[in-house]
């Protein structure tokens, strides 16, 4: 049997390249969004530190604000520097 393709539609998926599934701060999945956002993706991105740990950007911003003036990664307590 010969099949002739007349038309095709490409579908792409994306995911964050992360070692763990959930944000350590809000415990919501990275492929979802932080509790303040409605939609995952560009509006609620993931942010990495130089210590290789990652969080929702909104969660991290809140943590750094709560920690002022010390700025530590909440997982390894190293000084937080955006990667």
């Amino acid at each position: 049997m010969k099949v002739k393709i007349k038309k095709w539609t490409g579908v792409g998926t994306w995911s964050y390249k992360v070692d763990y599934d959930n944000c350590g701060i809000c415990r919501q999945p990275f492929h979802g969004c932080c509790p303040y956002c409605k939609w995952p993706g560009e509006t609620c991105p993931v942010v990495w530190g130089q210590c290789t740990h990652c969080f929702h950007i909104h969660c991290m911003a809140k943590w750094l604000k709560a920690q002022e003036p010390r700025e530590q990664c909440p997982l390894c307590r190293q000084k937080w520097r955006y990667a």
């Binding site: 701060i25 415990r27 919501q28 509790p35 307590r77």
Partner: protein
């Protein structure tokens, strides 16, 4: 719903305070870091993150429990959690049912929860179970901000917090107190005396009195169920412990950190344990 969230904690505090003279004084004295004395938290609305994290922490505590740690959400308020830690074997706290009240703040997990050890001053008994558990229920722990050392991080959870508390219920507990660290492993009398005191009070208050008054003190039904089952399982060990330590009975002891002398009476506890056993068996 919003107004319920605001007032729920206040009414729970009042309700509990009616039962408990020490808790009442707690509120009037304004003991810091007490979950029931959190006026600042009562008026602030809970953030979206706080509600989601609190819910998830409790769910995780229930679905993947750690050995010897049991949690139950409060019916009236999602931000309150009843936690129970069962003392590990080979420690003076073995088989004891330690009750804690944990409260998540409106800014959880960016602020640490507030914890009260309910076993310390309930049932008309005031006990210093551990150097880090004050008689007024305060739990001294660096991640709670009530002790020096590494502070709270937003990645800490209810489970990790309870695990830290569980680890304080160890043998040679007195060595956790500043000034006594050197005595670890030295068989010093102050350390062994404190352990005897902790064992005595664990059996007397954290086992017998706790089970006796479980219903009167609003311990959630699920936790009472767990306690009853474990009581039957551990009963022989409790009795063995009473027999083994009966040699210290009626000897007045000086125990560090206590204002009064302590006179053990393991025989009396054994009698109460046996009575409680038959009482609980009759209810089955």
């Amino acid at each position: 719903m919003a107004s319920f969230r605001k007032t729920g904690s206040i009414s729970l505090a009042r309700e509990l305070a009616i039962d408990d003279p020490v808790l009442r004084s707690h509120i009037s004295l304004g003991v810091a870091s007490c979950p029931f004395n959190s006026k600042d938290w009562d008026i602030a609305p809970n953030s979206a993150t706080a509600l989601k994290r609190a819910e998830r922490d409790v769910a995780m505590g229930m679905s993947s429990p750690t050995e010897g740690i049991f949690v139950s959400g409060d019916d009236a308020n999602i931000m309150f959690v009843h936690a129970m830690i069962v003392g590990s074997f080979d420690t003076p706290y073995e088989g004891g049912f330690f009750q804690f009240m944990v409260r998540f703040g409106p800014n959880y997990p960016f602020d640490p929860p507030r914890v009260c050890c309910m076993s310390s001053y309930r049932y008309g008994h005031v006990v210093r179970f551990n150097p880090n558990f004050y008689e007024d229920g305060t739990v001294c722990l660096s991640i709670l901000g009530t002790w020096e050392g590494p502070s709270w991080a937003a990645t800490n959870t209810l489970s990790s917090l309870l695990l830290s508390i569980q680890s304080m219920l160890s043998a040679e507990a007195l060595c956790n107190e500043p000034g006594y660290e050197r005595l670890r492993g030295c068989n010093a009398s102050s350390v062994t005396n404190f352990d005897i005191y902790a064992r005595h009070e664990t059996l007397r208050v954290a086992v017998v009195e706790t089970l006796r008054h479980a219903e009167g003190f609003r311990i959630p039904a699920q936790l009472v169920e767990v306690m009853r089952n474990l009581f039957f399982e551990y009963y022989d060990a409790y009795i063995e412990s009473c027999d083994q330590y009966a040699m210290y009975d009626n000897k007045t002891m000086q125990v560090s950190l206590l204002s009064k002398n302590f006179v053990p009476n393991f025989k009396e506890i054994k009698k109460n344990l046996t009575a409680l056993h038959s009482e609980l068996q009759a209810k089955l």
